[in-house]
């Protein structure tokens, strides 16, 4: 069995989540929008899940819109809010997920001005620049992630919310990596929109949510059909929605235990990494997710290390699990001012519930022997 250390790319499905989903994979459970009995049972299940997800992230059930995942949620937030406005200015953090950056960039076609917000060497917002940007433009929307998928760096979103609202703009928060790993409270963060994805918290792939305050006017991305109050057409993926609900419920109940476990493992891992000469851990000075370490061993061929680790049964990644840009150094690290050659060799370890101390020790041993071979 390979040791899976890539939980920020995706997690396995919790067996309890699968169990909850199974009845909805055995038909005929109907189309949640149909009025007959099968349809009603499906609809009740969908509404229960809405409550479960709402509880995890501190919002109202009615604020949740189901989507096909975090990517769609980010697109819906950015395009859906701006669609009803006269073109203005959108700002996003320089280390955002491509779904945010590219959705924002696409607005340029319709006359919007789109600017990244600089980050410091630890990956945190560069506050003076951000404040200057808010003063210089009439900003309508700001998109910031709660936690970064590569470095795990946590942004002070609540602080940003105060500034964003004072400037008269809406704040969208990509909480895809944060939910289930650290407490997430839509209200307390001061977010107006927030993206979530189930497969990052032991739920199924292909289901996500956008949380939206009622005051925010939103235009649909998928037209057609009454689902999600007209904001997101398409027959509901009932089994996946139910799975998301249960995964959220479990994440809420087990958050403390999970966090303690992950933090202990990560400390063990970082202690081991620090014994390697020249190792550099990205965002080490910032508050980070308890499960994530991104590092590089300058002087070693990072890509070769990744391939060798894979052959030895350790599933890690260089950064984000994207379909494109393979071979391009991480935009996250570049934004933090990491030199290209170091960024190119970055390795991200993202831990999960089932990882053990033995996994960490095995990984460190493999890394050390590979580093020694290559030196």
């Amino acid at each position: 069995m390979p040791v899976y250390l890539d939980h920020n790319a995706t997690t396995h499905l919790d067996a309890r989540v699968l169990e909850a989903m199974l009845p909805y994979l055995t038909g005929p459970y109907g189309n949640a929008s149909s009025l007959h009995r099968f349809g009603r049972a499906a609809r009740d299940a969908v509404e229960r899940a809405r409550e479960q997800v709402a509880q995890l992230v501190g919002c109202q059930p009615g604020e949740i819109i189901w989507t096909s995942g975090g990517t769609e949620s980010n697109n819906l937030a950015i395009k859906g809010v701006t669609a009803g406005m006269a073109p203005g200015v959108v700002l996003y953090g320089a280390t955002e997920h491509p779904a945010v950056m590219e959705a924002a960039q696409a607005l340029k076609l319709t006359g919007w001005t789109v600017e990244p917000i600089r980050v410091d060497a630890s990956g945190r917002i560069d506050w003076p620049t951000f404040e200057a940007q808010l003063r210089a433009h009439r900003v309508q929307l700001v998109s910031l992630m709660r936690a970064n998928n590569e470095t795990g760096v946590i942004q002070d979103v609540a602080r940003a919310a105060g500034l964003v609202h004072a400037a008269g703009a809406w704040l969208h928060v990509d909480a895809v990596q944060a939910a289930g790993k650290i407490p997430v409270d839509f209200q307390a963060l001061g977010a107006d929109l927030m993206s979530l994805s189930a497969h990052k918290l032991y739920g199924p792939k292909g289901i996500g949510a956008l949380v939206r305050k009622a005051a925010v006017d939103l235009f649909p991305l998928h037209h057609g059909g009454p689902q999600e109050r007209g904001l997101r057409g398409g027959t509901e993926n009932v089994a996946a929605i139910v799975g998301f609900g249960v995964a959220a419920e479990l994440a809420r109940q087990e958050l403390e235990v999970r966090t303690r476990h992950l933090r202990a493992l990560r400390e063990r891992l970082e202690a081991g990494l620090r014994s390697l000469p020249g190792v550099c851990i990205f965002g080490a000075d910032a508050e980070r997710l308890p499960n994530t370490v991104q590092f590089a061993l300058p002087g070693y061929d990072g890509e070769a290390l990744l391939m060798q680790l894979d052959r030895r049964g350790f599933g890690v990644s260089s950064g984000s699990a994207c379909a494109s840009g393979k071979g391009e150094p991480s935009h996250v690290l570049l934004a933090m001012g990491v030199p290209r050659e170091i960024a190119r060799g970055a390795i991200r370890v993202s831990l999960g519930r089932e990882n053990s101390e033995a996994d960490i020790d095995g990984f460190l041993a493999a890394l050390k022997s590979l580093a020694a071979e290559r030196a």
């Binding site: 007959h36 099968f38 980010n74 945010v100 379909a323």
Partner: protein, 385 residues
Amino acid sequence: MIYLDHAATTPLDPQVREAMLPWLDDAVGYGNPASDHALGRRAWAAVEHARAQVAALVGAMPAEIIWTSGATESNNLAIKGALEFRGHAGAHLVTSRIEHKSVVDTCRHLEARGVRVTWLVPEANGTIGVEQVLAAVRPETVLVSLMWVNNETGAINPIHELAPHLRERGVLLHVDAVQAAGKLPIDLDTTPIDLLSLSAHKLHGPKGIGALFVRKRPRARLAPQIHGGGHEQGMRSGTLATHQIVGMGCACALAAQRLATDAPHLAALREQLWQRLRVLPGVYRNGDPAHSAPHILNLSFEGVEGESLRARLGDLAISSGSACSSATREPSYVLRALGRDDELAGASLRFSVGRTTTSEDIDRAAARVLAEVGALRALSPRWGT
């Protein structure tokens, strides 16, 4: 409960479920298909196998299949993507009044943004004619979007005859084939359709997964609607849901295998139901059986009110045209176009049979309909006086 609503959704086939389960498994079924390590590559291989299965059902090449979250998204991507790629200014689009809401609302949205839209109205048999479409095409027409099979009446549009004419004129053709796939043979190798939408849950596959066929030669070009990450050749980003995709692949493979037996079986059940119900006075068949997909029978009942009929048939899972019955429907444009007045359009029932429907189901359902239509007519001061 007798389930006769297969045009709304179908039960998951047990074989499809079996194929999906390993990809939901706690131990081995994870890995992001976009991750470059052993587990990721395993998931990627499963996704590509499924792509080939979907392509085979419709005679396409695997690289022409783009995964989406369902046909609603496929229809949105096809229509908005094609128009956005071309530029909205001065563009013209042809579609019909009987399309699924996901096409109608998308075209309305574009209309509000300045795209000219021609809305075709069905002929007396419920279909859109080739001549009608060609007469609507202008030099600035970018796209014709037409469904293959209508989801309310089962009416089949003459896509085979239409497609070559549009290719000749250099107009893109998008076909919503959600109700056609697995019911009629589709061969994109010989039929010059440029874009074609599919949904798994109408074919005994899972809900929340669909596909858009995007022709490579000549290449149909689309502007992506969901950005970020560059999945699916940049046309549709987002982490791929391996289990869903595997389920759709398996469902399409089964549909391809079973097409030759499923279609006549469904048509026989549908005719059995019609024979049982036509003994009633004042029952009308909506649509022309000569141009109809095998799984749908749509009937209007004179002398009863639609909502009451549906309410008394709570033990049948069927769809009804009654206006107040369903928050999701406007009084049926399709049925009114077939010459039914509002009252008959409202007092309509759509029965749609599936692979697991039995002849006994049909007899029981027919008996229930006969009984309840009779009861409501007996109660009505307007019937028979």
